[in-house]
Structures are given as C-alpha cells and as structure tokens.
C-alpha cells in the first residue's frame, strides 16, 4: 500500500508539473495538447481513418493553439494503458481513446491523472475526468435498409456482421425494419465474419451471400473487399461503411454511412481550452452530424432517393425514431407498442433480433 502511495504521488507530481504548464496555456503561451489512441492503422480506410480525420480537423480548426499526437495500431489491454499513460506524462490535456476495448485501461489511467481529460469512444464507464461518446449508426442503417428493400430484385439481402454485440445487432434490426417497410417480401441472410477488418474474410462472406442469392450486401466491417466482390458479381448493391468508399460509386456502392467525429472533437477540444469541459455521455446521430450519409448515387431511382432523403430528414430533426412500434421481438413477444419508441438503455444493450429475421444470434 505504501508503495502504491509512492507511485501515485510520483505520477501525480508529474501531472502537477504538467498542470502548471497547462495554466500557462491560458495565457496563450502554451498549446493545448490532444492525444489520440487508435486501434488500427490510420490508413485503414474505415474506423481509424475517420477518427484521424477528426484529429486533422482539430488541427485545422485551432492551428497553432493545439498540438495533436497519436499512436496507431495500439493493442487493447496493457499496451493501450501504457500509451495513454505516456501521453499523459508527456503533457496531454485531453486524450481520445477510440476503441471499445480501451474502456478499462482508460478508467485506470484516468484515476492516476485527475487533471487530464479523457474521452472514450463507444464504452459505458465514466468518471469525473472521463467522458464517453458514440454515434447512432443505426439511424444510417434505417436509410440503408430502405434503399436496400427498394433495390433488391431477389428479395434477399445479405448482411456481413462483425461480432454479435449490441452495436451490430442494433444495426441489423434497424436495417431490417426499414427494408421490410419498403418491401414486405424481403429476407435477411446474415454471415458473421468475427472481425472488424479483414479483407480476405469479408470477401469470402460477401461471395457466400451473393451465391445464396443476395443482390444487396450490407456490411458492418470496414474494408472495401465486399465492394470488390460485388463489382465482380456485377449486379450487387453495396454501401460504404465507416468511410464513404466512393471509389466504388456510383455502383456497386450506392450510398454509405460515414463516421464524422470532427465536430465532436473540435467541440471537446474547445471545451478544454475554455475550461468548460465536464464529464458527459454523448450519443449523437444524423442530426448532430456525427453520422453522415454518403451521397446517394444515380444508380438509385430518383423516387427511392427522395424517400431516403426524407427519411434522413425526419431522423435528423427527431420527428421519427428508427425504432418505432409496433414491433415484436423475433420470438413474437411484444417489443414496442404502437407509436412507442425504444429508450436508449434498451438500444445500448440490444441482444435480440426483431420479428422476421431468421436465424439465431451466435452465443
């Protein structure tokens, strides 16, 4: 225990010394230092690529007043804890940790550096100096589902899942609900790739789905391999995931869900500069601009495009919720009554399919 005190003291005094440097910052002499911990390489074209774009936007916005640092391809677990500690020791004022697996490490490090602000993406543990933030990607999935339902001729829509976790299941449900609304005969075929990013596995998954008759393939994985597979097949519709993937537009990529972290990163950096930062839980969607919908290409008929844009507008101004009753769960038990909308707690922990989706969620 005594030794723990010593280490904590040591770290705190290091943090204190940095705290002095931070005070100087208010006079405009010192830069605000913002650290980013990335789970993949910044050139992954998906998840980390978009977070890094957010970092660059912070630099663009504040110029000389900020300094950003980042470490890419940081494994979750002790490696991430070390990298965060290193950034805090080196004087970071604000650290964004951009993967779910960084949750416990972020909390551990935040305890040792009470004066440093932390922002953890997609987690649920907060502290006085730890905020969480995530995006309502399921809103984008609703639009995809609508377009998919209208575009499919075989009435079979393929879906490449990454891992069977609430985030992904929520997306499948939202896409399915709106595909069925657009086309009551639609069926979903779901393949679990057990990866976030693996071009080879994703290509295999896409090919399996196409062979099973899917002429629309949705994906919750980050590479463009499914687009390439769809292009090869010739008549299969896809959507960009995480980033725009516009190199496959106008076809097979007809639209996309884009993670846009820039507005949030700029706002939170500003809050640290102004001294107004507090611990918050942010879950923003299309309305706040955190979820972007990539341009709907001309391969989509004009009336479908108009409907999709109207859906987008209603999601953005909150006049419509992507999970609105009447909805039943897969086993037929009631989920939402007529006109009722799902609360955030239910959405956050969603571990069931809605009625009409076939197959089981792997356990």
């Amino acid at each position: 225990m005594g030794n723990e005190m010593k280490l904590t003291k040591l770290l705190t005094s290091a943090a204190l010394a940095l705290g002095l440097a931070t005070t100087a910052m208010a006079d405009g002499h010192e830069k605000t230092k913002v650290g980013f911990v990335f789970v993949g390489p910044i050139g992954d074209g998906g998840w980390t690529y978009e977070h890094n774009k957010g970092r660059l936007a912070v630099e663009e916005e504040f110029g000389d007043k900020v300094e950003t640092v980042f470490v890419e391809s940081v494994a979750e677990g002790p490696d991430s804890e070390r990298v965060m500690t290193q950034m805090a020791l080196d004087g970071a004022d604000l650290i964004f940790t951009t993967s779910f697996g960084y949750m416990d490490p972020t909390i551990n490090v935040a305890k040792k550096f009470p004066d440093v602000k932390f922002e953890h993406a997609t987690g649920y543990k907060r502290a006085d100096n730890v905020s969480t933030y995530s995006a309502r990607f399921y809103e984008g999935r609703a639009i995809q589902g609508h377009i998919a339902g209208k575009m499919t001729k075989s009435n079979i829509i393929g879906y490449i899942g990454s891992y069977p976790i609430p985030e992904v299941i929520r997306g499948i449900n939202s896409a399915f609900i709106h595909a069925r609304k657009a086309n009551p005969d639609v069926q979903f075929k779901i393949v679990w790739a057990y990866t976030w990013f693996d071009p080879a596995k994703e290509a295999d998954a896409a090919k399996v789905l196409i062979e099973q008759g899917a002429d629309v393939v949705l994906q919750h994985t980050d590479s463009t391999a499914p687009q390439a597979a769809a292009q090869e097949a010739g008549n299969v519709v896809t959507f960009g995931q995480a980033s725009d993937m516009s190199q496959y537009a106008p076809f097979p990529r007809v639209s996309s869900i884009i993670d846009d972290w820039a507005p949030y990163y700029i706002a939170r950096t500003k809050a640290v500069m102004d001294g107004t930062w507090t611990s918050t839980d942010t879950w923003d969607g299309i309305g706040a601009g955190m979820v972007g919908i990539g341009e709907i290409s001309d391969a989509v008929p004009a009336d479908v495009k108009a409907e999709a844009l109207a859906l987008k507008a209603s999601l953005a101004d909150r006049s419509y919720h992507a999970f609105t009753g009447p909805l039943n769960k897969q086993d037929g038990t009631p989920f939402l009554a007529e006109g009722e909308t799902a609360d955030d707690g239910t959405l956050a922990g969603m571990n069931f399919y809605v009625e009409g989706i076939e197959g089981d969620i792997p356990q």
């Binding site: 225990m1 030794n3 723990e4 010593k6 280490l7 040591l10 770290l11 290091a14 650290g35 390489p41 910044i42 640092v69 980042f70 470490v71 890419e72 391809s73 940081v74 494994a75 979750e76 677990g77 002790p78 490696d79 804890e81 070390r82 990298v83 500690t85 290193q86 950034m87 020791l89 080196d90 779910f100 697996g101 416990d104 649920y124 891992y163 069977p164 976790i165 609430p166 057990y194 956050a348 922990g349 969603m350 571990n351 792997p362 356990q363």
Partner: protein, 360 residues
C-alpha cells in the same frame, strides 16, 4: 570477388557477435529509414532505445519493460528447448490463448469467492490449457508422423476462434450490458495477478519467466535430458546411438513449450490485461520465435533478447507519439532486427574470402 567458404567449425565468436552486430546494423539502417521519413535519426534512435530506460519518465517505463518482456521470455524459453532439438512448435500463440482461457475460466468460475487457493488453481489450469494444446500436435506427430510445424500453426487458428466465442458467450461479463469481454480479474482480488510490489511491474509472470530462465539453463547444462536435446539437434544419428528416445523428446519439448506459453497467457489475462476479450492475443507467441533466435536459443540470451524486443515496442510507441513516426516504420525497424540477425548468421558458419575463387 568475394566468396563464402564453409567454416570447418561454426565460429563461436561470430555466434555471440551477430546479435550485437544485428542490433547495430538495425540502428544504422533504421536510422536511414527514419531520416528518409524526415525525422532526425539520432533523436529517433535515442527515443526508442534510451528514453524508456534513462529518460525523464524511466520510472514508469522500466516496470513496463518487465510487463512486456515477461511473456516473451517465458514463451521463448519453452520454444528454445524444442528448437534446439529440431522440434518446431510454431503454435505458441494458440497455446498462449488456451492457457489464458483455462486460467481465466477457473478464476471466473470461482467468482466472487475470495480464497487463497483460487490463484494457484488458475496457474495450474493455465499450464494445463497450454500443455493440452501443444500435446495435440505432439501426439499426432509421434502417432502418425504428422508435421508439427503445420499442426501447431493450425491449432492457433482454432484457438483464435475459441477466444471470441468465450468473450462473447460463456465468459461474457453478465454485468457488461451485453458488450463483449469477461469480468475484469483485476477487480477480483483472489484472482488478480497483481504487482508483488505495487508499481514495480513485478507480477508472478515475471517471477515465472526468471525461474524458467534458470531452470532451462540448469536443464541444458547439467541434466541428461538437456544433453539429449542438444545432441538430437546437432547430430540426430549420434543421438539415436546414445539411447535418446525421440518420442519422449517430442512429447517433452512440445509439452513443455505449450505449458510455458499457457502460463504466459494465464499470467497476462489475470494481471496486465485483466480480461478475456476478443482481441486478447497480441502476437506474443509469434514474436517469441524471434526472441528465441535473437537470444541464440540460450536461456540468458533469450532473457536479454526479450527485454530488447520489449524495449523496441515501448520505445516505438513513444517515437510514434512524440516524433510522429508511423507504426509501419516501427514494424519495419523491428523486422530489420531479425533480417540482419539471419543475414549475419551466415558468418557463423561461413567465412568471407576475398580474391578470385578457384574453380574446383
């Protein structure tokens, strides 16, 4: 003309010198790489090799060196026994995963019981998990003559499927709101592989690694089994004449390396990592192969090589953050180390001859 000429005896001097030369060559060519990327090469090399050990925040990085190095050393020691005898376990990564799953599984099964015997049972389970996973290729080899390189490697992919299955299913934290990952064993005192002295980085895995180094040294130099391992690798025919039982040797070498890899996984999951997660394994099992060869398959060499690799990881992350070096450049830098080691290794068995080579 420069010609290579086989030495009558491998050069002992070069055998010891090549790791050092490889490190120096890596620094030189790595420095050139960093310079080409527009960074000051001297600052970059200093950031990677000097700052973690003697820089301003060395008090934090030195313990990290133990945390990062311990699993590498523990696994590499096990691998080196087999490698010396020409028995190739390439699947330590899978054995590491299975050790972690067995160990964590026992811990999670006891949760929330607080008792002194929970952690020792987890250690036994971890060792057992790694051992079982390595005995599969061992058994197939001695029974059916399969190739242990292929089988042990394939078993990694099987283990990598078990891991998400456990993290999302059986071992998922029931209080985790449906998110993947087990309970954090760091918050379960009876199962937590904590630092023995807080903040020192000295957890039981570090102790185990050091014990393994000593025991391996004793085994190889003093014990009959160590003699059998060495003679089998150097002269298989002579080994047969001297009464070495190749079946037993295969079972011992693969089993022991699996056991140590399993222990490494168990100490990691119950300590620094804390959780069974989808991405728990970070490649220690494969990096340990580099460590084993960089350390000349010698226990003390492996200890030093493990710490050196840990240093390049830790220093590499600092260089990324402070100098803006891309992760890929750091990985190339680490790759150079093995490349130069193997390239320079030629000089152990061959010597350079200058002048016209004679046609025989």
């Amino acid at each position: 003309m420069i010609a290579l000429e086989k030495r009558p005896q491998p050069s002992r001097a070069f055998s010891l010198a090549t790791p050092v030369l490889a490190v120096i060559a890596t620094m030189v060519f790595g420095g050139l790489l960093f310079a080409a990327l527009g960074k000051d090469p001297l600052v970059a090399i200093k950031t990677i090799f000097w700052d973690p050990l003697f820089g301003q925040y060395a008090f934090f990085y030195r313990p990290q060196l133990l945390i990062k190095g311990a699993p590498l050393v523990l696994i590499a020691i096990g691998l080196s026994l087999g490698f010396k005898a020409g028995i190739w376990n390439i699947g330590a990564e899978g054995q590491y995963i299975m050790g972690a799953l067995f160990g964590a599984g026992v811990g999670l099964a006891f949760y929330p019981l607080e008792a002194f015997y929970v952690f020792p049972l987890m250690v036994l389970a971890g060792a057992l998990g790694g051992w079982i996973w390595a005995m599969i290729p061992a058994f197939l080899k001695v029974k059916f003559g399969t190739n242990e390189i292929l089988v042990s490697l394939m078993m990694v992919y099987v283990a990598e499927q078990f891991l998400p299955s456990m993290a999302l299913g059986l071992m998922k934290n029931p209080e985790g709101f449906g998110f993947p990952g087990s309970r954090n064993l760091q918050q379960y005192p009876s199962a937590f592989n904590a630092d023995l002295i807080e903040g020192s980085g000295m957890h039981w895995g570090v102790v185990a690694a050091m014990v393994a180094v000593i025991l391996a040294y004793v085994l190889l130099t003093k014990h009959r089994l160590g003699f059998a391992i060495r003679v089998t690798g150097e002269a298989p025919r002579a080994a047969r004449f001297s009464g070495v039982n190749p079946t037993r040797l295969v079972l011992f070498c693969l089993g022991m390396s699996g056991l140590l890899a399993g222990l490494a996984g168990m100490f990691e999951v119950s300590g620094p990592a804390g959780q069974v997660t989808i991405d728990f394994n970070v490649g220690y099992g494969f990096t340990a192969i580099i460590v084993a060869f960089l350390g000349r398959l010698h226990p003390v060499g492996i200890l030093l090589a493990g710490l050196l690799m840990a240093l390049t990881y830790i220093g590499g992350d600092i260089a990324q953050s402070n100098l803006g070096l891309p992760a890929a450049a750091i990985q190339v830098f680490q790759g150079m180390l093995l490349f130069f080691l193997l390239a320079l290794d030629v000089l152990t068995n061959y010597r350079l001859r200058f002048g016209r080579s004679e046609v025989a």
